[in-house]
């Protein structure tokens, strides 16, 4: 029995909002600009979909996973249920231009659209390479404009409502783990607005997202030079400008980590159909995790057409990925425990899912 008022009090005012954007655009009472979302007016509705679908209100992880990935064998306590993991990259340089690593996400979305699996895609673009915006793409030619990592959080999911109102029947969504959870909760709460059988969810790996303060920092560092883009490979912050690249420690960027990221349990978008991240051990390649049948259907098409190539994922590297996830999960459980002691519970910490990482039962 909670709505916009409680969304403001329990999520936004506490700094838990991930800027997924799901509550924006569905509802005229909630507005967003840059890295801020506000419940501008009280709607007076006691049972709000915004509250129910928010990834930062109480979430029963086991139930959501059961609903959307219940039939997936092979549960990993650290990177979620999946069937396959590969190194992957796009093969067509026309498609992958502008991508961060192997261009796998761009390739998959392009394939999904070309194959008619989706009519449009909810993506994140950044015209200046820094300040990201939600982007609804319905023309394959525009997909490339959204390529590349954005380190600043964007309210991309607001485009999901734009897609629905535009009458798009099938839609692809690319998002951070919190956004993947947002989509899943939305599908659970209002299935008539976001049918799971007509939605393809590609999740990104994410350890943290940055606030708009990072944009101002980058601009200040660049001075008179125009910023072309930002990359954070292997602990280094690279600010690419019209007059060369400025190199800084990644710690400079991490000081702008959003507080909401400190309670994010999910590193690899465990509830997505497909998850994609960097493969830091091999330049120009991505890590590709296939979770659902729907996800495999798309990867299969991309392989068949030759748009995507894959190769075996080194077991040692998988272990490195899992340990990175474990480290983050342990920090997050400690933080979730702290806020629970202060009276806010957003997950059931007594579930084995959370207990196991702390009690070192995982291997």
């Amino acid at each position: 029995m909670k709505g916009g008022k409680e969304l403001k009090e329990e999520v936004q005012d506490k700094g838990f909002c991930t800027l997924c954007g799901l509550c924006v655009g569905r509802c005229p009472y909630i507005k967003s600009l840059e890295d801020k979302i506000a419940v501008v007016f009280p709607c007076g509705i006691e049972e709000g979909k915004c509250y129910a679908a928010c990834p930062r209100t109480f979430t029963d992880w086991d139930a959501v996973e059961g609903q959307f990935l219940g039939d997936v064998d092979g549960r990993d306590p650290l990177i979620g249920r999946y069937t396959q993991i590969w190194m992957a990259r796009g093969t067509n340089p026309e498609v992958t231009r502008g991508s961060q690593d192997g261009g796998t996400v761009t390739t998959l979305i392009s394939t999904a659209m070309a194959e008619g699996m989706i009519e449009g895609a909810v993506l994140t673009s950044a015209s200046d390479g820094l300040a990201p915006q939600a982007a609804l793409v319905t023309d394959a030619a525009d997909i490339g404009k959204a390529a590349g990592s954005k380190y600043i959080a964007a309210t991309s999911l607001q485009a999901l409502h734009q897609a629905r109102r535009s009458g798009l029947e099938s839609i692809g969504v690319v998002g951070r783990p919190c956004q993947v959870m947002g989509v899943r909760k939305y599908q659970a709460v209002v299935p008539e607005e976001c049918n799971k059988d007509r939605t393809l969810v590609i999740g990104l790996f994410c350890m943290w997202a940055l606030s708009y303060g990072f944009r101002d920092y980058v601009r200040q560092e660049a001075g008179d030079r125009q910023v072309l883009g930002v990359a954070i490979p292997k602990g280094e912050l690279q600010i690419k400008t019209t007059d060369g690249t400025i190199s800084k420690s990644v710690e400079e960027a991490k000081q702008f980590t959003r507080s909401a990221c400190n309670i994010c349990w999910d590193v690899t978008s465990e509830l997505a159909d497909i998850s994609v991240g960097a493969a830091e051990f091999a330049e120009g390649w991505n890590t590709l995790i296939v979770r659902t049948e729907r996800g495999w259907g798309l990867v299969g098409k991309a392989l068949k057409s030759g748009a995507l190539e894959i190769k075996e994922y080194p077991p040692a590297m998988l272990e490195e990925l899992r340990m990175a996830a474990l480290g983050k999960k342990r920090r997050v459980v400690a933080e979730l425990t702290r806020i629970q002691n202060e009276g806010t519970s957003i997950v059931d910490l007594s579930s084995p899912r959370f207990r196991s990482v702390v009690e070192e039962e995982v291997n």
């Binding site: 709505g3 655009g25 569905r26 509802c27 005229p28 009472y29 507005k31 967003s32 600009l33 840059e34 801020k36 979302i37 506000a38 419940v39 501008v40 007016f41 709607c43 007076g44 509705i45 049972e47 709000g48 979909k49 915004c50 409502h161 109102r165």
Partner: protein
């Protein structure tokens, strides 16, 4: 076409609005120069003067503000012409710096200044009693109590002004300005030519002239002693003497009649109230030392008569505002008078029972009961969209930005229609002046964004010095100029930005952005109907240092609706979510345009197409895209 202003048949009786009567009085007097800044309740006078300018050959102008208006009118007087200047009570304050010197300088051609007060502030922010300013400035004061007097006093005021070489103040009030009554017309006096000013013709306000001011006032007082505008009705030796002026005379007559005390109470109605005709008043005090003073708003006459009684060592029992007998719901010295207020006081003083107030008993079964109405913007008003965008921008920003308000239609944004966004409200130009100061408080820990709002006419009237100040002192603030291309609140009068003059000539249209840029401000222009872009622009500008100006330009919806067919807006009800989550009657409940109504039978939104002016902003806000618009460019 002949009108009550132009009929040249002396002795004819016509029905006239008070503002028409004042205009007619000036026309009969052969006025040649008229100036004003629009303000309720006197705005019609200059409009009528402008409309009759060609017929009578006089000049009429809307001036940039009231002090310029009085300066311009005084110049005409200096050249020997009869001139009229009109302003509401707030305007009198704006003009006060100059008016305070007019007693010293005096005038040449008849100079008549109309102060139109607004007791109970029907369309003002206050109910200042401008008679105090006349006394302070040491200028003769006339107070019409009937529509006939409104005409006759205006006409005579020019004569008095020339006879005594001093400007004359006429104090009207809302009920005189906007009420109607019978007026017998007079003839039109011939006009004079302007005098050539010689080297030693001076009009100077300097203190050595002060004794002459007093000599003039003494002469005026002598004239007032025998003025036909001061009348007495009642028994030879009344038990109680009502001394009244202005609207008080009608209310007093009605109260005396309804309490059936005509044989006991006399009414001394004064039309020439300052300087007080002491001998005349004293003669009535001698007949009856028991007095009830009835006047709007301040105890102005009351105190002057008290001083007279003390000076004359008379033992008079006074009732009125000081005694608490004449008081509205807000207490003595506040609000308008009416017959009930006077009856209350009169019955208490005389100890006679008063008839019941005849309160209207409402039968909700049979009678249509008018619901209480909020202060709001018209349908399609660009200001509603501006306030909505500003509210969104400030809430998203989250630092509790403060908006300094100003005087105009957008003042209504201080109420629910503008989401209670205004934090301050004073006078014309007061908002940007305050913002200029508030934008300098960062050093003291004040970290809220600072905004000011003002309309286009207000911008020219009173905002320029404060904008210079803000820029000069590098204040951090955003100035929103709500440019609806008219002086909308008072009836769409032109202003310097429109390029039209009062007499319909094409003048020089002033560029608001050009002026702001010349002052060195960072100037942006937006369309308030584009709510999303306006929201984003306001948000961006309050993140930045320095003086920012955002001109939000859209023609007043009422002006626009008169220019031709308006777009049709309607709701596709099958798309409307109504009360459900994701809408919750957003258009009617939150945006709140009077044309966005609720169809209770359907449980859906509806557009009242009669009220709607076709702006289409609601269509851009509807989350379902259920509101359709047809016929807009």
């Amino acid at each position: 076409m002949q009108s009550v202003l132009t009929i040249n048949q002396p002795g004819t009786q016509v029905l006239m609005m008070g503002n028409e009567a004042i205009t007619r009085g000036a026309l009969e007097a052969g006025v040649q120069f008229c100036s004003s800044y629009p303000g309720s309740p006197s705005a019609e006078i200059l409009s009528l003067m402008a409309a009759t300018a060609k017929t009578f050959g006089h000049y009429a102008e809307w001036s940039t503000n009231e002090i310029v208006a009085i300066e311009a009118a005084t110049a005409a007087s200096f050249a020997g012409l009869r001139s009229l200047c009109i302003m509401k009570q707030n305007g009198a304050n704006v003009a006060a710096d100059f008016i305070m010197s007019l007693g010293l300088s005096g005038c040449r051609g008849g100079l008549v200044v109309v102060f139109a007060d607004d007791p109970e502030s029907h369309s003002s922010t206050n109910e200042f009693d401008s008679r105090n300013l006349a006394r302070w400035a040491e200028l003769p004061l006339l107070e019409p109590g009937t529509f006939q007097e409104a005409k006759d006093m205006t006409r005579w005021a020019f004569e008095l002004s020339e006879q005594t070489q001093t400007p004359v103040i006429i104090r009207s009030v809302t009920r005189i300005c906007h009420g109607r009554g019978n007026v017998v017309l007079g003839d039109f006096l011939p006009k004079k030519q302007a005098n050539k000013l010689g080297q030693w013709d001076k009009l100077i306000a300097l203190n050595p002239l002060h004794p002459f001011t007093h000599q003039k006032l003494a002469r005026v007082r002598e004239i007032f002693e025998t003025s036909p505008f001061n009348t007495y009705t009642g028994p030879e030796s009344p038990e109680l003497l009502i001394i009244t002026s202005g609207t008080g005379s009608f209310y007093s007559q009605e109260a005396v009649s309804r309490l059936e005390v005509t044989g006991r109470v006399g009414i001394l109605k004064l039309g020439t109230t300052c300087p007080l005709p002491g001998k005349l008043v004293k003669s009535y005090l001698e007949k009856c030392p028991r007095v009830l003073v009835v006047e709007e708003v301040d105890p102005f006459l009351e105190q002057n008569v008290m001083v007279l009684a003390a000076q004359e060592e008379m033992l008079v029992k006074f009732s009125g505002k000081a005694s608490g007998h004449i008081k509205g719901p807000g207490g003595p010295g506040t609000g308008e008078l009416n017959p009930d207020v006077v009856m209350d006081g009169l019955s208490a003083v005389l100890g006679v029972p008063r008839p019941s107030r005849q309160d209207v008993v409402v039968d909700p079964e049979k009678d249509i009961v008018l619901p209480p109405r909020d202060l709001t913007f018209c349908a399609g008003c660009p200001h509603r969209a501006t306030f909505f965008a500003a509210k969104n921008a400030l809430e998203i920003d989250g630092r509790q930005g403060v908006v300094m308000g100003d005087i105009g239609c957008y003042t209504l944004g201080g109420a629910k229609a503008g989401h209670f966004l205004l934090s301050s409200l004073f006078c014309m130009g007061g908002g940007i002046g305050m913002a200029s100061g508030m934008g300098k408080l960062e050093a003291f820990g004040f970290d809220q964004p600072v905004l000011a709002m003002a309309g286009d006419s207000t911008f020219f009237h009173a905002c320029l010095p404060a904008l210079v100040n803000a820029r000069w002192n590098n204040s951090k603030m955003l100035f929103l100029i709500l440019d609806n291309e008219a002086t909308a609140m008072t009836g769409f009068q032109p202003h310097p930005g429109t390029g039209q003059t009062a007499m319909g000539e094409r003048g020089v249209p002033f560029s608001i952005e050009g002026i702001c840029k010349a002052m060195g401000a960072d100037v942006h222009i937006g369309d308030p109907y584009d709510v999303a872009a306006t929201t984003e622009k306001i948000y961006q500008l309050i993140q930045q240092p320095g003086v920012k100006v955002l001109i939000l330009r859209r023609t007043c919806a009422l002006v626009q609706s008169r220019r031709g067919p308006k777009p049709r807006v309607w709701v596709e009800q099958e798309k409307c979510l109504g009360d459900a989550c994701g809408c919750g009657r957003f258009c009617s409940k939150v945006f709140g345009c009077p044309a966005c109504i609720w169809d209770a039978a359907a449980g859906k939104a509806r557009i009242d197409e009669v009220v709607c002016n076709g702006c289409g902003v609601c269509a851009s806000l509807c989350p379902q895209g259920a509101i359709q618009i047809e016929g807009r460019d």
